[in-house]
Amino acid sequence: MKLLDVINVDVKIKSSKLLDNISFTMEEGSVLALVGHNGAGKSTLMKAIMGVHEKTAGEIMMKEKYNQDTNFLEYKQLIAFILEEPLLMSELTAMQHFQLYGKSYQMEEAELKKRINRYVEGFELQGKLDEYPESLSKGMRQKVQTICAMLPDAPLLLIDEPFMGLDIYAVDYFEAILKEKIANGTSILLTTHQLDRVKNIANQFIMLQEGKVLHSGPIADFETIKRRSDNQ
């Protein structure tokens, strides 16, 4: 079944087009990697899907019935988002962030606690739960943000640069959780510069250039396209 439909999406600021006629579809349980140089439009596309960046044309649908333009509240409930830069509130501790996420995705308290304990141990954040973001290192803040998005069972996970700022153990652990989520039917749309790292996870790719889809297809084809582009 189709999970995400992006149909002819444009994002414009004045006369400059950040995204130009982007269309693609994601099936349930699939993993799509968005690749491209800096400024290609990867993060803009993520934000447009999230509804943070307003699109100027096109349609974005979840599960074929939740349209971003007409059912925004239900639409949002189906997506969890990890940003490249941790987006945490100075007023909330790590634990309070987890609770805010839990409540926003309407999770049961017992289940939330179970998952928090598990992920906190896995990401080695014990003893940091009552700390405010300012007293955590950048890597730890990234871990807090990652755990927040891992807590709910949102059908679609958007991850902007998944391994940015994480140490090598955290990267391994995160990869394992992602695989578990995928096995349980979660779809993931991620942007990355480290395609080698996500090659074992992703099954499709889209290459963006100056806001347009340059290539797309199964991840296995990526190397051939990359070599061909490099030679040109």
Binding site: F72, L73, K76, E91, Q96, L129, D130
Partner: protein
């Protein structure tokens, strides 16, 4: 060894800041104003100016007021001299008074002395203020019959206070909240005592002497014990926060909030009770704190207007109450929508109904300053009808609030459509408040509405 020129580096940063701001404003103007609108606006503006100041003999109309202003200004000179410094003490709670931004602080990391950069910031501020006061005093002298010497004395005095309060405000900004409050209350108390005992001149001499002594004492320690993080954070916000641009681009420049006094309390670090009320309470407090200046301005203006209108006419007070309800409920609804436009909440799913429930108490607290003058007016003006009139005001406010929050929810769900009957009704209800001037029995409409609401909610429960 050659030293780099701090002045040139300072000028370079200021020039580029100006260029960047100018470009942003140009873009804003390009986005929001076309040439035809601009020309028509200029014509209308010119006509209004001509109507007021050229064709109308306003000097004759406001003759008594000008005489009153001149007499008061002469009589209260010493009192005003001690009241003006209060402004700077009050400002020191939020603003350091010297526009030392993070760019200037970074300049201090290069071979430039912080005190030299600080001096340039202060000099710029003083010159700017001098220019502003000169322009204002020139306009006042040209357009009003007020005594030129008096106007110049006053604006000269304001500028001197600006000068002498720069260092005290800068150092006070660094001080503990209690110290600031103690100083503020002491100066206020001195003013009250001076007025009661008719010794304003003595009080102003004491206050001014303290200000000058503190300048001498603090000058050498100006840059020691400074929390630069806080100073640059506030100043960056002041420099780059451009409300018109934020409104047009829907991108808000938010202050980077860091620790505060209350945040270090262990009770605030404890996990929430896992309820909406408990989690949302923190989010609302944070949102209110972020917008506190705007909230105080709006509620404060409405409060002052409701109080002052009592001195004009009853009918105008009723119009004021109706407008206050409209403005306050619209403002609260837009503040509600704003909660979802930035930060972490923007990327989370929104249980709008839940947020609407938890914001109610804060909306009520904000309405208290408006309710007090309304109730006092109702008791004095309507006497036996006052309970019914107050009920009408409350019902109208709740009705307007409910409609506007419903629209806010629709905006968040991207479902807001055309004007509905409910919107028109909520507007019409405001009219009933004004009609009470002709016949207080119009207030009985509130009872009817209340009965309809109770009947409908009961029917809903049964279904």
């Amino acid at each position: 060894m050659r030293h780099p020129s701090t002045w040139q580096a300072y000028r370079f940063i200021r020039k580029n800041r100006f260029i960047k701001k100018r470009n942003i404003m140009k873009m804003l103007v390009g986005l929001s104003i076309d040439k035809t609108t601009a020309i028509y606006s200029l014509i209308v503006g010119g006509y209004v100016f001509a109507a007021i100041f050229i064709f109308n003999d306003y000097l004759q109309i406001f003759k008594d007021e000008f005489v009153f202003i001149e007499r008061t200004a002469e009589e209260r000179f010493w009192l005003i001299l001690t009241i003006v410094p209060l402004r700077y003490i009050f400002q020191s709670f939020r603003h350091p008074g010297i526009l030392f931004t993070s760019s200037f602080y970074q300049l201090g990391m290069l071979p430039h002395a912080l005190n030299k950069i600080g001096f340039l910031c202060i000099a710029e501020k003083w010159l700017k203020q001098l220019l502003i006061y000169s322009v204002i005093s020139a306009v006042v002298i040209l357009l009003t019959p007020l005594n030129t010497v008096l106007v110049l004395t006053y604006f000269g005095l304001f500028w001197c206070i600006e000068l002498f309060m720069t260092i005290p405000q800068w150092k006070l900004f660094q001080a503990n909240f209690v110290i600031k409050l103690a100083i503020l209350l002491t100066v206020m108390l001195l003013n009250v005592l001076g007025t009661i005992t008719n010794q304003s001149q003595l009080v102003s001499i004491i206050v001014f002497s303290i200000v000058i002594i503190s300048n001498i004492l603090l000058f050498k320690k100006m840059y020691s014990g400074i929390n630069w993080g806080r100073v640059t954070e506030v100043n960056d916000y002041l420099v780059w926060s451009m409300p018109m641009v934020a409104r047009a681009t829907k991108v808000k420049f938010k202050r980077q909030r860091r620790y505060n006094l209350f945040q270090n309390r262990s009770s605030r670090k404890r996990p929430f009770r896992y309820t909406e009320a408990s989690i949302h309470k923190r989010l609302w407090i944070q949102h209110i704190r972020e917008n506190i200046e705007l909230i105080v301005k709006v509620v404060g203006t409405l409060f002052i207007a409701l109080v002052m209108l009592n001195f004009v006419h009853h009918f105008v007070v009723l119009i004021g109450i109706a407008i206050s309800i409209h403005v306050y409920t619209t403002f609260m609804a837009s503040l509600f929508v704003d909660r979802f436009q930035s930060g972490i909440v923007q990327v989370l799913p929104w249980d709008v109904g839940g947020y609407q429930k938890t914001v109610k108490q804060w909306v009520f607290y904000g309405a208290i300053p408006l309710l007090i003058p309304t109730i006092i007016f109702a008791i004095i003006h309507f006497q036996w009808w006052s309970p019914i009139f107050i009920l009408l005001v409350i019902v109208t406010a709740v009705f307007n609030y409910t409609i506007k929050m419903g629209n806010a929810a629709a905006i968040l769900d991207k479902k807001l459509g055309a004007l509905k009957v409910k919107d028109v009704l909520s507007f019409l209800m405001l009219g009933f408040i004004v009609l009470c001037e002709y016949d207080p029995s119009f207030a009985l409409i509130s009872m009817g509405i209340l009965l309809v609401v109770i009947y409908r909610s009961r029917r809903k429960h049964k279904l």
